[in-house]
């Protein structure tokens, strides 16, 4: 926390080294969050890139009331949601098939060696509706409270809790179904 405060001050004072340190410190956390939300590591890398470029431009205006990690994770979640929305619209417009053919996207498990468990999780997560996946991941992996997620998405806490419960139920049913097979 303290180290982050120092880094932010230095960054706001114009230190490129501080910016690079922030990037090195949090890039993995952001990548993991984006990859699990989008179920695509290439897209996740783009999100991390966009988040940090935007952050680099914001030195002048940046006013952090909470901690830096939460701030960056929130930016990542927002961008992932926008990208997901855009992808859905493209699917609706019939562009999806053409994209699939030329897509060079990497699923998360492709980057891990022989991680059977990870593959199963990735599949299961991919089958959750995005809204439920987002709540489950932000709560369990990013450590955000339901109230924070509700504020981030501009909806009620009860809706968030509902999405979380449905998400977990669905995950359980997917994973238990797999086990039965």
């Amino acid at each position: 926390m303290l180290e982050d405060k120092v880094l932010i001050w230095k960054f706001k004072c114009g230190s490129s080294d501080a910016l690079c340190s922030i990037y090195q410190k949090y890039k993995k956390d952001l990548l993991k969050l984006a990859a699990i939300l989008l179920n695509d590591v290439s897209d996740a890398e783009d999100i991390v890139h966009d988040v940090f470029v935007s952050f680099a431009k914001s030195a002048e205006k940046l006013k952090l009331s909470g901690n830096l990690k939460s701030y960056l994770l929130t930016c990542t979640a927002n961008r992932a949601r926008n990208r997901n929305r855009a992808q859905r619209q493209r699917q609706t417009a019939g562009l999806d098939k053409a994209e699939t053919i030329v897509s060079n996207s990497k699923r998360p498990e492709e980057l891990s060696i022989c991680s059977e468990e990870l593959r199963r999780w990735s599949d299961a997560m991919g089958r959750l509706p995005y809204e439920q996946r987002e709540v489950v991941i932000l709560h369990l992996r990013a450590g955000m409270r339901f109230r924070q997620i509700a504020k981030l998405q501009g909806i009620s806490v009860n809706t968030i809790k509902g999405r979380y419960r449905y998400g977990l139920d669905k995950l359980r049913s997917i994973l238990n179904g797999e086990m039965k097979k």
Partner: protein, 412 residues
């Protein structure tokens, strides 16, 4: 079968070691530096005039004051002694160590909240040497803007404005000269600051690879209701590594949040006299010392308002005026704020101002004289504040036409 709890646990503990593709990593880092540099240039061009105005309006800004407090804090950690047996930092040793310090160099970042969300950020590199004095190089967005020197042996200070190629020099009062080199003065200052006790231990942490332990505290006795201070000390050397202060201060007539970060301390740095020699290029223009300018204006005003011969009625009123001044100062001594507000009806005093003025001592009240212009009484006075400082000035007093109550005009 997996329960919901199991699933929660599994997701939380999922060990997933992925990283950004090294090629992409390199591209992102390159782009970040580029974007940041561009952003800085734009910001510098847009913001610098505003910053310059702010600094020009405040030639004796809080920066210098903050630096003094900060050094005081730095050199006076003995007040933290005895913070518990589990601590790796022996706080009493911090005192011993800092007492032996004759010279240091450190960086200070000052951030002041500005309306509209665009904060004023200034970096100062400070040099302090017991034998020579102090020097502070001020950078705004990485560019050297101003150098301040306080040279107690010569009883002179310099402000060199690098960006404007101008400078001025000014005489140091005895108190200013003492502050410029004598850590004892600073320790006394800290003693006052820290006398409230009640700090919180922060335990152990790491700053730039150095194991540190810290304490923090806040409270009005530190410098205001919202003042907060945190000190981190190297567990090996028992010397401070980082100091953070946040406080509300007056800036441009408004209360604004000030943040100070002190770091990169070089204790017992090898500093020679040359560091403290003002190196002013020939093409720099010498300006008038603003304080001397203000004094000149004040003298001119005083001459305009020079006393006139008193009528019999005014002579009869003279003792009442003197008594009113005595009661006014006495109200501060006794912290009788209701009485104070009768004399200063338009002034709403902050708690901090009250803290400073409470308990003041009246040294001298001179004979009231009548100003030639207007119906004001001019009363010379001298008062002493409880922190040891004193003030010698002339007060302006008028009587309310309806109630006859004396009112202090234009502060004191």
């Amino acid at each position: 079968m997996k329960s919901a709890e199991n699933i929660e646990k599994l997701i939380k503990n999922l060990d997933w070691d992925i990283d950004i593709n090294p090629e992409k990593d390199r591209v992102i880092l390159g782009e970040l530096s580029e974007v940041h540099e561009k952003s800085k240039k734009m910001k510098s061009a847009l913001v610098e005039p505003k910053i310059r105005r702010t600094i020009m309006k405040n030639p004796m800004t809080k920066l210098a004051a903050a630096a003094v407090i900060v050094i005081a804090v730095t050199l006076g950690l003995f007040e933290f002694s005895g913070t518990g047996t589990t601590s790796g930092v022996v706080w009493a040793k911090v005192l011993e160590k800092t007492e032996q310090i004759s010279a240091l160099v450190y960086d200070m970042t000052v951030e002041i909240d500005q309306p509209g969300g665009e904060n004023l950020v200034v970096l100062l590199r400070n040099y302090v040497a017991r034998d020579y004095g102090t020097r502070a190089d001020t950078y705004i967005y990485g560019k050297l803007s101003k150098i301040m020197y306080i040279l107690p042996t010569q009883k002179v200070g310099y402000r060199v404005y690098v960006d404007r190629k101008t400078y001025y020099q000014y005489e140091l009062s005895d108190a200013e000269a003492a502050r410029g080199r004598d850590p004892e003065e600073l320790r006394t200052c800290l003693k006052n600051i820290m006398s409230g006790g009640g700090y919180t231990e922060l335990g152990r942490a790491e700053i730039n690879g150095v194991a540190v332990e810290g304490v923090e505290r806040n409270g009005p006795d530190l410098g205001g209701e919202d003042c907060f201070m945190r000190v981190w000390v190297d567990v090996e050397t028992n010397l401070p590594v980082q100091i953070i202060m946040e406080m509300l201060g007056k800036e441009g007539g408004q209360m604004r949040q000030h943040k100070y970060l002190m770091e990169n301390f070089k204790w017992n740095a090898s500093l020679d006299e040359k560091t403290f020699e003002p190196n002013i290029p020939d093409d720099y223009t010498l300006m008038e010392d603003p304080r001397a300018g203000r004094d000149r204006q004040e003298n001119s005003k005083t001459q305009q308002a020079s006393p006139q011969t008193l009528t019999e009625q005014e002579q009869a009123e003279q003792p009442k005026v003197k008594e009113a001044v005595r009661r006014f100062f006495n109200a501060f001594t006794e912290q009788d704020w209701d009485t104070v507000s009768k004399y200063l009806p338009d002034l709403k005093m902050s708690q901090r101002t009250k803290d400073i003025l409470a308990g003041l001592e009246t040294i001298y009240i001179g004979e009231p004289a009548k100003a030639t212009n207007g119906n004001k009484w001019l009363i010379p006075y001298e008062i002493k504040f409880k922190n040891g400082g004193s003030q010698k000035n002339t007060m302006r007093l008028t009587a309310d036409e309806n109630t006859g109550q004396f009112i202090v005009r234009g502060g004191f």
